[in-house]
Symmetry: C2
Subunit: 396 residues, 2 copies
Amino acid sequence: MREFKRLVPYRKALSLLLNDLEEIPDTEEVSLDEALGRVLAEDVTSPIDSPPFDRSAVDGYAVKAHDTFPAREYNPVELRVIDEIRAGEESRAVVESGTAVKLLTGSKMPEGADAVLMQEMAERKGEVIRVLRPVAPGQNVAKRGEDVKRGQVILRKGQVLRPQDLALLKSVGFSKIRVKRKPRVGIIVTGSELVESLNEDALEHGKIIESNSIMLKGLVKRYFGEPRFYGILPDEEEKIRSAIEKARSENDIVLVTGGSAFGDADLAHRFVKLLFHGTTIKPGRPIGYGERTFVMSGYPVAVFAQFHLYVKHALAKLVGAKNYETRVRAELVERIPSQLGRYEFVKVWYEDGKARPIKRRGSGLISSLVESNGYIEIPEDSEGYLEGEVVEVVLY
Amino acid sequence: MREFKRLVPYRKALSLLLNDLEEIPDTEEVSLDEALGRVLAEDVTSPIDSPPFDRSAVDGYAVKAHDTFPAREYNPVELRVIDEIRAGEESRAVVESGTAVKLLTGSKMPEGADAVLMQEMAERKGEVIRVLRPVAPGQNVAKRGEDVKRGQVILRKGQVLRPQDLALLKSVGFSKIRVKRKPRVGIIVTGSELVESLNEDALEHGKIIESNSIMLKGLVKRYFGEPRFYGILPDEEEKIRSAIEKARSENDIVLVTGGSAFGDADLAHRFVKLLFHGTTIKPGRPIGYGERTFVMSGYPVAVFAQFHLYVKHALAKLVGAKNYETRVRAELVERIPSQLGRYEFVKVWYEDGKARPIKRRGSGLISSLVESNGYIEIPEDSEGYLEGEVVEVVLY
């Protein structure tokens, strides 16, 4: 049996991988209703000033601020109301000294006015209002272009679109937007011991229910991709070889689980010309990558670590996504020893600014993933972290 | 014009709201492929031990550990290989003292064996292996039930399902799972000044492009709901009244924007019997709630704050969701003054353990939401936070 002669350092393998993959050029135009969570394909510039005109921020009276300067409760200033704007309409009146126009929140400012007096600061008597307090020029007015200016870049390429991003796009007139095509990700699971579902008889005879595919499908969806499952394959050379070929021809990248070590039944790595095979990460050491194909472990915890440490970044590169991770600071409530020379992926529970390592470390313990909500990365040159140290946690 | 006589404290209004709403009893069974992000409707118990049998964690030889205790490189112990397990198969052989069974990672342990010797720790010569090092009982064996035990609660009601949760469910035999029905959320936008899309002529005449609906649809989807948009309504009493009635009859809750203040054109609050109206939150003060209906502001920033401070928690209550927020600790890089008596919603940019307040505060500035990735809540009795203080940030 072969063994890994030398493990490739984590970051070196990552940069080999990211250099090997190119951003997908394909884009597609989608309606804003379909754009949530998609990745913006290009910088977006506003075609208009927003708001498109000076408008009132309150219900009240458009006035010349100068008229109100002497106004006090004991010495009100009187102004004549020359027009009233109803919701969604505008006034053609021109506010001159001594006059006012009644308007509503959001109304376009009439010509001549430079401030809005809040309704409750005026006493209305027929055609006349008594102004009880002064207003400053610009007060209660939302200026044209105060949100965004025409020609301004309002969102950058690579932005993962959130509800407020869609609102900004809509507010300046977009109904559709150009996003990156979702990367197509083929998923192949190998292992003659794996079955698709519960069958007491099968379980009694040394079989295990396969669970990597549902996990990988979910992870791929979370990180911008479109998963396609090619099924569970037995450890048979020809079947694995042809499935990898088919998946590679139909997808941007391919994930193969259960074929990465050098065990007798680990075949997948033989059919892929690997750029690297065996890295310093723990768990997940036997990961290999080449020809747009990831040859991953069979154990779910190792697969999960391999996904977060490598595949996630590859997917982000394929779509050019920015800010796709939530990295936070946390105080460790327990020390974490780490092996020198290994890049450790340590599952933690993050809460209230503190991180608690999940100690159960077996690669088969899916329950340990369920008990965690993030991970810490411990580089090769570190022997770990002490209780009370502040560390970076990547939340998932 | 009426005014708010007294603002209801934020937490009091929130508890009035949450006490008024009941968790939706409806559940549905979905395949694991459709379950990502859904909310688990009940505690889930494992029907099996997982793994279902003792199995090997490595490729190697199943042995009686006791046999190997004297083994040293200079003094190997010889064992006779009585069977070889191929991938996905099992052995009917019984390991007795002096014998071994060759197996693969994941193979079911044969009877009689209590440890696995890694392949590279043995020298094979025909039917015989020379053991170079001792192994301890249990070494390289994944014990039956070591991940989860039969009858153990593996996931709790209210869990928002993540990829690893689906993997655990699958690994113990589930192919479908019972989740909460998505809350149906009617969205009504009011305002005669609002138009659906860009039209230079309309914009010139005091109209504004409506953007609350796309934002609310996105937020509702993020927080477990199914949004249904009832369109933009002019400020006309009868239209708003009948739309609210219709939406209420077809949805679990209804969000109405632009009708919450006491301005001349703010009608919606008149048709809903409100449990509270006007709370201490800033921005978003005029929010009202009653009869499963939220009467919200027209300004996007106020609507966004109202959603996060009230509607999000209501949606979580409707489905019984737990852990639906990401709250992290951050060091403030700038002081934030806050008005006594107001519960301030302050947008921030969180990065590298630090939070920077977004200073542009106008309620119409959607771009200020885009520049932020979280918020800080400042209670009524606080005058704000100092530079360098550690605060809690809710990420979005």
